[in-house]
């Protein structure tokens, strides 16, 4: 690791040295440096780079293995070269190691733009052993590296200039949260040889403005968790002014556009196919993405409250700012989910999934007010819905424009309205204000809660051989599973007390123990003078056991 920091710059000059070592098997080192035979070398690099990276890590002494790694067939060469490049191998190893690190990062950047193609390499790198994928991606990125230079430096994705400095820090930053990494997922992914999913490493990669595509990519890659945004960024991708890359972008965008599920499916499917051949294709696509991305950057208004469709798209581009990215993506996600009128369950599940880590506690807290809400709903009956629907429209003005248009339609599908959530919050703290996405999530949580309660209550009613769902079914479920009592609905029944069941044997044994303890105490009191004290206790210890042992014998 430490070798990387000083070596990044020297890494580039070092590659030329490498060819000396394994001239016959230039595949591993050369592809990264020369990037000529990206596709062909793809097969070779995996095993080689894996070995090289692993070998280079240990120490300089690995130089011989490093040399031998390139290929077993080329054994004669390495031995000859070993004596001379002792010094060279060391920097070479370091360079190779560094390269292994660097390559993934630059590649990840480039790979981002062409969602379908680059996905597989990134996916591989993030999920499976990094070395193999990194090598593959390295080969592709290396080629791309050479070609597109930094004119797109504005583009967050794949800014080659930044790579040298960035690789070293990222490994440490992996531990950071995922949400902000949306923007630069691939940057992190590239590095995530060991880690999984995008992490804060992207922060260092920073320049990832191309969050748009990055985000789309993210969705596919991060399909495992918290990869909601994929759906959101899709829209902006399509609408963004990308004349050059429009055709290329459209295909990935459409894929992403189909929804979270599609994204996941596509992500799953993509990794397999494109990995080998995608190395070269990404390049031309990357550039147009970069170009378009840089163009889109300027018009980003970072105003959060205004989540208009346009701003949403812009936001997706803007997602440079991590905190913004997180919030915007989540908002966009919410917006997209509501606009797309997707099933609340999916969006709820997604949001919950996304925020699952962050809101486990709040969820529990919310369950109580939800129950109160439900109790109120039960008691007040029809009054509640009218109350909730009427204030919903006037309440919306402060919220984003899209919300009112989408909310009224959604409110009929929802149990709670945002207005009631705000009322509940005001009951807790008058000065408290919730973010729109928090309200959305709370509504989703409430809905899921009611759903689960009703389902279990129905199964209990069925168990009761009744076709009517009664209050006692709900009450029983809440009492047993949620440890919640709802006063006022229990009816006229009295809860009967069940004596704890004790088997006969247990009672007998307890009685025997009591007797022996009493006997021992009397003995102790009698022989309280010193020495004898120890013996009776020993007697006592043996006594109960012998007595206890007898009953079972009797039984047997």
């Amino acid at each position: 690791m430490e070798q990387q920091t000083p070596t990044p710059p020297p890494s580039t000059p070092q590659p030329p040295e490498l060819p000396q070592q394994p001239p016959p098997s230039p595949s591993p080192p050369t592809p990264t440096t020369t990037a000529s035979t990206a596709s062909s070398s793809a097969a070779l690099p995996p095993p080689i780079t894996a070995t090289t990276s692993t070998s280079s890590l240990p120490s300089t002494t690995t130089s011989p293995p490093l040399l031998s790694l390139p290929s077993p067939s080329q054994n004669p060469q390495p031995p000859t070269s070993t004596p001379t490049p002792n010094t060279q191998t060391r920097p070479a190893a370091a360079a190779a190691f560094n390269r292994a690190w660097q390559q993934p990062t630059p590649i990840s950047h480039f790979a981002l733009p062409p969602p379908p193609l680059p996905l597989p390499p990134h996916h591989h790198s993030s999920s499976s052993s990094a070395s193999s994928t990194a090598s593959a991606s390295n080969s592709s990125s290396s080629s791309s590296l050479l070609v597109p230079p930094p004119p797109r430096g504005g583009m967050a994705i794949g800014v080659p200039a930044h790579h040298p400095g960035t690789p070293p820090p990222p490994p440490t930053s992996f531990s950071s949260l995922t949400p902000p990494s949306f923007v630069q997922p691939f940057g992190g992914l590239g590095r995530n040889v060991t880690d999984s999913g995008p992490t804060s490493s992207s922060s260092q990669v920073r320049p990832t403005v191309g969050g748009m595509q990055g985000i789309g990519m993210m969705g596919t890659l991060g399909s495992s968790s918290a990869m909601r945004p994929p759906g959101v960024p899709v829209r902006p991708v399509q609408s963004s002014p990308r004349p050059q890359s429009s055709p290329s972008i459209q295909s990935p965008a459409t894929q992403n556009f189909q929804g979270h599920g599609m994204l996941r499916v596509s992500s799953v499917g993509s990794p397999g196919s494109p990995s080998p051949g995608s190395s070269q294709s990404p390049q031309p696509q990357n550039q147009p993405w970069l170009n378009s991305g840089s163009q889109v950057k300027p018009p980003l208004p970072p105003s959060r409250p205004q989540v208009s469709p346009q701003s949403m798209q812009q936001r997706s581009h803007i997602s440079q700012q991590h905190h913004h990215a997180m919030t915007t993506t989540s908002q966009q996600q919410q917006a997209s989910s509501s606009q797309q009128s997707q099933q609340p369950s999916t969006s709820g599940a997604g949001t919950q999934e996304h925020y699952g880590q962050q809101l486990p506690q709040s969820r529990i807290q919310q369950s109580l007010p939800n129950q109160q809400q439900i109790a109120r709903n039960l008691s007040l009956g029809t009054q509640r819905p009218s109350h909730s629907t009427i204030p919903s429209s006037p309440v919306q003005p402060g919220l984003p424009n899209r919300a009112p248009s989408a909310e009224p339609e959604e409110s009929c599908n929802r149990i709670l309205s945002k207005r009631s959530i705000q009322e509940l919050v005001s009951n807790v703290d008058a000065s408290e204000k919730l973010d729109p996405e928090v309200e959305d999530i709370l509504v989703d949580i409430a809905e899921d809660f009611v759903d689960s309660i009703t389902t279990f209550g129905c199964s209990l009613a069925k168990h009761r051989k009744s076709a009517t769902l009664e209050a006692k079914d709900i009450l029983l479920h809440l009492e047993r599973n949620w440890n919640t009592t709802l006063p006022g609905f229990s009816g006229d029944e009295i809860k009967t007390y069940k004596k704890p069941f004790t088997s006969d044997i247990h009672r007998e044994r307890l009685a025997v123990i009591k007797k022996s303890v009493l006997a021992g105490e009397t003995l102790n009191s009698r022989s309280s003078a010193g020495q004898a004290g120890g013996h009776p206790k020993g007697h006592l210890a043996k006594g109960p056991t012998s007595i206890v042992g007898s009953p079972p014998d009797k039984r047997t």
Binding site: T485, P487, G488, S490, D492, E493, I494, K495, T496, Y497, K498, K499, P500, T502
Partner: protein
């Protein structure tokens, strides 16, 4: 299961038949009058809603029932139910615990005072 309750008349609406399915109906309004005064003491209207009183009574009965069941679980080992079991249950709630101990001690003092008073009366009667 049929509990041989102490006050079947007050509790049983359905005759205690042989089947174990009979559930004793709870008599409503057991605490109605007292609760109204208590609620007024805590800030409610002098004449609260009957539904409110019924709800508060439900809460109280539920709480007491739950407490007794738990105390019985603890005391089943000893075999007898004592006040210490209840004190053990509310040990975590300091205000309640202190109030309980205070009430118990006051009860003891009152007993002592009554006993002394009666003795005094007897003495007076005897001296007379």
């Amino acid at each position: 299961m049929n509990n041989p309750s102490a006050g079947p008349s007050s509790k049983t609406k359905v005759g205690s038949s042989q089947s174990s399915e009979t559930s004793f109906k709870r008599k409503r309004g057991v605490f109605q009058k007292d609760l109204q005064h208590m609620m007024y003491g805590f800030g409610d209207d002098p004449n609260p809603f009957p539904e409110t009183v019924a709800l508060v009574e439900d809460i109280v009965v539920e709480y007491v029932t739950d407490m007794v069941h738990k105390a019985q679980d603890i005391a089943s080992k000893r075999g007898k139910l004592l006040t210490e079991d209840f004190l053990f249950l509310i040990r975590k709630d300091l205000p309640k615990l202190n109030r309980c101990t205070e009430l118990l001690s006051m009860n003891e003092e009152l007993k002592q005072a009554r006993k002394a008073f009666e003795v005094d009366e007897e003495k007076l009667a005897s001296t007379e």
